[in-house]
Symmetry: C2
Subunit: 432 residues, 2 copies
């Protein structure tokens, strides 16, 4: 069956408040325009909760409740009306659930909306800003690659130099924290750069996309000129947190409050569209930094994890195969079995920086406590201090894009480039 015909049959038009009866369930909401390449067999409704839902029209009846107005925007960018009193926010979509639809045949989610669909599916966004929307990629974020970070950083820099007052990046959650860290190192920015996503796709009844997107726009309009992640702060829809792009990590496979600041507090809480900045947090204010893009990176960087049966061949493999650097997720304070240490020495001799992090995730690497750690330091391994392993990996890609000297890379790894180190740790920073 065809959705257009279905709408016609029931005498409905886009913008109407309707009721849809489908087997045992009744949905009431505003009939939305569908994404450009939508599967033709379903309607999209905006529920009063703000969520969008897709309803397959098979075995479905509909009823008009109240005539409505067609939402202000249509398909093309030119049709979005600009309001000179509002700030100009760029929305860059890369794919992921936040910009996905469910394939109703298989039940699987795949990226299909474009950035302009995002605005169309969330018309209240128009109350907050003028938008410049762009679909940069349409991929699940597990397929992000370092070279895509580079292209994204260039696009964002471009938008900012063209006058954007803030940038929102719609991104899959799987690797959002890697991209957030990459943009943090690559860009010095006069305006906020906010990554956001969703754990359930935009057209599902319980999608978290709506509040994450709107709060990201609130953040993008704010005074915090940093790269941040904006995501749900709890299991309900009451507030979101803004996390520093270098201190955040996905900590749960499916919860909407999956993103957590590690060894740090969130920068701000956004509740009822109001941003409350953490008073302990010294953020970079809007306009303080000029725009600077440094997107040179080295892609040939390894990332491994230590474990009881690990062989030193894991290290040798990277040396023998032209890797330019290696991040190791050690145990505890930053350890590996002592029989790996000779391979670290070989890496050092071949000018390949090895950075030690901890699979504990929380706390900081300290290789001065145990004999193992001291041996590791002596072999030339560099501490990742309290960075997450993921941020350390991204930073090493970036540091090796700046220099191929071991000593210079070591210096860069220990320099605070984008707030990746916490000066002091607070007991509140554990599992919060």
């Amino acid at each position: 069956e065809n959705a257009e015909k279905f709408i016609e049959t029931y005498g409905l038009s886009i913008g109407d408040k309707i009721q849809v009866n489908k087997e045992d369930i009744t949905y009431t909401g505003i009939l939305l325009d569908r994404p450009e390449d939508a599967d033709d067999g379903y309607l999209v409704l905006k529920l009063s909760s703000g969520y969008n839902i897709g309803v397959a029209i098979e075995n479905t009846a509909a009823e008009l409740i109240e005539k409505g107005e067609k939402p202000k925007i249509g398909f093309g960018k030119s049709e979005i009306p600009a309001d000179p009193k509002k700030q100009n926010i760029s929305i860059v979509s890369t794919g992921g659930t936040v910009s996905s639809v469910i394939d109703y045949r298989t039940g699987a989610v795949h990226p299909a909306f474009t950035a302009s669909d995002l605005v169309k599916a969330n018309p209240e966004l128009l109350d907050y800003a003028n938008y410049n929307v762009k679909a940069l990629y349409n991929i699940l974020s597990e397929d992000m690659k370092p070279e895509y970070w580079v292209k994204a950083a260039r696009e964002i820099a471009n938008d900012i130099s063209n006058g954007s007052d803030g940038v929102v990046i719609a991104h899959g959650t799987d690797t959002m924290h890697y991209t957030a860290a990459a943009l943090s190192f690559m860009l010095k920015t006069p305006v906020p750069i906010i990554l956001t996503g969703a754990q359930r796709s935009s057209d599902r009844p319980s999608s978290d996309a709506n509040i994450n997107l709107i709060d990201s726009v609130v953040a993008a309009k704010s005074d915090i000129a940093e790269v941040c992640v904006c995501m749900h702060g709890s299991l309900n829809d009451k507030y979101t947190y803004l996390h520093k792009g270098t201190k955040v990590r996905k900590m749960h496979t499916s919860r909407r409050d999956t993103f957590r600041s590690i060894n740090a507090q969130p920068i701000a809480k956004i509740e009822n569209k109001k941003i409350n900045i953490n008073p302990d947090y010294a953020y970079t204010k809007r306009g303080v930094n000029g725009l600077e893009l440094n997107a040179n990176i080295e892609e040939k960087v390894g990332f491994i994890k230590s474990f009881p049966g690990i062989s030193s061949d894991y290290i040798e493999y990277h040396i023998d195969n032209g890797y330019k650097g290696l991040v190791v997720e050690g145990t505890g304070l930053g350890h590996v079995p002592n029989d790996l240490i000779d391979s670290f020495k070989r890496a050092r001799d071949e000018n390949i920086p090895v950075i030690m992090t901890s699979q504990c995730l929380y706390g900081r690497v300290n290789m001065n406590v145990y004999s193992t750690g001291r041996n590791i330091i002596d072999s030339g391994v560099i501490s990742g201090v309290d960075m997450t392993p993921e941020t350390t990996y991204v930073k090493l890609c970036w540091a090796l894009g700046q220099s191929d000297s071991y000593n210079e890379v070591k210096e860069i790894m220990h320099e605070d480039i984008a707030g990746e180190f916490s000066e002091k740790s607070s007991i509140k920073d554990f599992l919060n």
Copy 2:
């Protein structure tokens, strides 16, 4: 200077309550016998908090406060008096901080106490049980190897068949959860098997070894016939938690409450030497299982983590180098870049099981939600469900020790062998 001479000079003997003045600090405590191979330059005191501290005798003066009795035990096992009214607990030491001393020359910690020193340094242990003590290894746990798990499992089985009412294993914290998982799969046990450790060494003023050890003995005497980890439950010394050996993980590099149940609640809380078992928890009671040892494992198992720049060569490497199985820490619900999937197919064709886990740590792998996950399932990859990546790695070593057929290994991986799956997840199980 020589500690024995120092003691003589000041007219002190082991067991006396003394005061030691060292530069600006004064310590009051019971003078303890030192470990067999102690550095000769320091005294060990038991403070009234229960902690032991090592004080270098250089620039130190001492004073007798009260004559005391030499602690009941000396060096050899035979000198520990057995009380027929008490249960018989085995203490097996493998090394780690819990059985370490600081090297006062370098400040680094290295394993040096033996299991019998553990009892000597914690004389109140004698109030709780009779002990059979054994130093199996004296290593930092970052140097544990799968073959050592096997030896430990055999020793423990031996102790149990010789009449132990419970076993305590003193272990380094770095890889304690790997060993706990290994013993969980290798042993069916009629009595408790409790791993414990410390974040600060036994002879430091703030060591957590004392309460962890005593509470482990309380757990070893209890009715919970499972392999568990017993460690601090908070930053203070008020209580410890007992965690299921297959559901626990070290989550902080240095906090004493570093061990956490992942996707599960602790089995019990031990407070004031009393054990409170979580009423929701269906544990195996003492005596229900007979002793069974199955320590066959495959050591050639790989363990890697996905990241944005990962090359399919990481998978090919394991296939080309004789690995018998591979655990992958994917992103989100259990994903890797789609361009790795052909290598998974090759692994499947070569009968090498690949198990998917999540680097989120919390939540469960679900490869049915996204197209990527479905492709990964189609390539023959097996889900790790809600096991930690570390438990999954250990279980795969064990499963491959039982069978080399892909289908049988898949079955074992999805069978609940040692409580490694949580039936349902609770919202309380996140970051708790």
